[in-house]
Symmetry: C2
DNA sequence: GCATTTGATGCCAAAAATCGTATCAATCGA
DNA sequence: TCGATTGATACGATTTTTGGCATCAAATGC
């Protein structure tokens, strides 16, 4: 393709005017110049675009087809420029957000709604990625920001505390303890537990086991499930009791009762994490929104998940 | 827009290679040249498209958005070239065909099917235009070819005999004569006639009246209708008898019987007509197909509709 | 610290595109 | 037939783009 936008726009104007002189005037050039330009384009395309005598100029069928398609192409190119500008200034863009269960069951949907009100041009692509895999996904530029349980301690990453949940107990409605208004973890010491399995749940399991150890018991695991929905289902089916973050109150699940655990002071923290030299303006807008408007505190060692 | 396809393709290659040296090699240019080209495009667009250090090159979010949109634009431009070529050679195109009732009820559908098999790239746009208006439509470039009863005698037009129909009689099934195997026009002399009205039918009426005059009578017009369907409906309802071209045998209409008219030697000729300096390659393809493959004879005075 | 890699910059010559003028040839109207 | 209009063509001057070379500055790896 050895022709530029100049050739095309010239022909478009000529197709409107159907007169070399007037078209040249509108294009701020001379008639011979336009004549040569059209001839060049026709030679390049390999087809006559205009049928012209000394008295009339008309567009050929090939010319109509060519110019119609070219107009579409030019529109895309112009759109590309404004799109680049808007993306550079953060008005438009895409932000790939990864979340884990506690975030999506907790306040992440609320955050998404609030942010997309402030920045309606930025499209948020949410995907479920286990906490462990989010670090790699950030490094490989598959996501822009991730919501995880643990903080990635690295000079290349930056984190912000997003939310805190307390521990709650999940009981089958048929369970004797389901009538109690509140429980202690000690009350569940002898119960069979349903726990999350696989890499996604290892951090939560470790923290939970540590808490039990402090309370002087080691829980008996009766069933395991890889997803939150699996845990809820097994508890509802009476396979055992479980613990979860308090955000579980947001989800409805028939057959389960949720009870606070009064003797567990520890909280479950969720962090937003991203790579430090912010790669996109959308990410900058998101993190500043998170820090200022959302009012989250930057992560530091004393706010991290303890025991 | 002060940038051409060269800038865009260069950036597209660079976005693939993510290395100025290799990209420059693929583009058959030098690294400084590419560096300058990218800088020019960025200045023109008004946004950084690549984030680059001396060790790494990565595409910015704005760059991704820009290049993705540009690729669409370039694709359209390339497509425009091949489209123009194909249209110029007659492989692709649009042909606007106007028809009147006898053509569409006769062999025109057959012609359309045969032509679109030979030239599948040419789209046929059929529209119903009365014979009288087709001449003006051709002059105003609203149609490319028209099928009419009469031949336009003019140096700017060209015509080809497309089909010949004989006259037939239309009778209500309830009519006493509907049992006869064949009729003569004279048999219908005293019957009330349903005839076409308006400009669309004037040519047919004249020819029909002339035939009747030769048979020594003048038909009594009981009802008029502007469309073929109207005529069929009125005849079926018993409002009178009528005549029509023999192509009417192709259409099904309850309540009507069709009978040959043995004593009418004249035929109804349908002609294809177009403007002589063929404006489009599609039209040329169509007319050559019509003349050679379809086997129609060129119009001349001795083949025209008589009496 | 030093050599290597890599992108940015400056400079210059060659090539190409652009612009303007003059002119020609075809066509139309009177 | 003559004049006016209009697109094509030729030529030259100017500007812009391109290509190539040398060099610089920053980052990397040993």
């Amino acid at each position: 393709m050895r022709f530029g936008p100049r050739h095309i726009t010239s022909c478009l104007v000529l197709a409107q005017e159907l007169h070399f002189g007037r078209a040249a005037q509108r294009l701020a050039t001379t008639q011979p110049g336009l004549s040569r330009l059209v001839a060049e384009l026709e030679a390049e395309v390999g087809a006559k675009l205009f049928r012209r005598t000394t008295r009339t100029v008309e567009v050929t069928e090939a010319g109509r087809a060519f110019l119609a398609e070219c107009r579409i192409g030019l529109d895309h190119l112009e759109r590309a420029v404004t799109l680049a500008q808007r993306t550079a200034t953060g008005m438009t863009g895409v932000l790939r957000v990864a979340y884990m269960d506690f975030a999506i069951n907790g306040r992440l949907p609320e955050l998404v709604r609030a942010f997309s009100e402030v920045r309606p041009g930025i499209r948020l692509e949410l995907s479920h990625v286990p906490s462990q895999l989010q670090r790699e996904a950030l490094l490989n530029d598959r996501i822009d920001v991730g919501f995880t349980l643990s903080v990635v301690e690295n000079e290349h990453f930056e984190s912000l505390l997003f939310d805190r949940d307390s521990y709650v107990a999940l009981l089958p409605v048929t369970h004797p303890l389901s009538n109690a208004r509140s429980l202690t973890l000690k009350d569940l010491a002898g119960e069979p537990f349903v726990l999350g399995s696989g890499g996604s749940w290892s951090a939560y399991r470790e923290a939970f086991f540590a808490i039990c150890h402090r309370r002087g018991f080691h829980p008996t695991v009766s069933q395991e499930a890889s997803s939150s929905e699996g845990i809820f289902g097994l508890v509802a089916a009476g396979a055992g009791v479980s613990t979860y973050a308090s955000c579980v109150r947001n989800v409805q699940r028939r057959g389960i009762v949720i009870r606070s655990l009064n003797d567990v002071p520890g909280t479950i923290a969720t962090y937003a994490t991203w790579m430090k030299p912010a790669r996109s303006t959308s990410l900058e807008a998101f993190t500043t929104f998170l820090a200022s408007v959302w009012g989250a505190a930057p992560s530091s060692s004393n706010t991290r998940l303890k025991s």
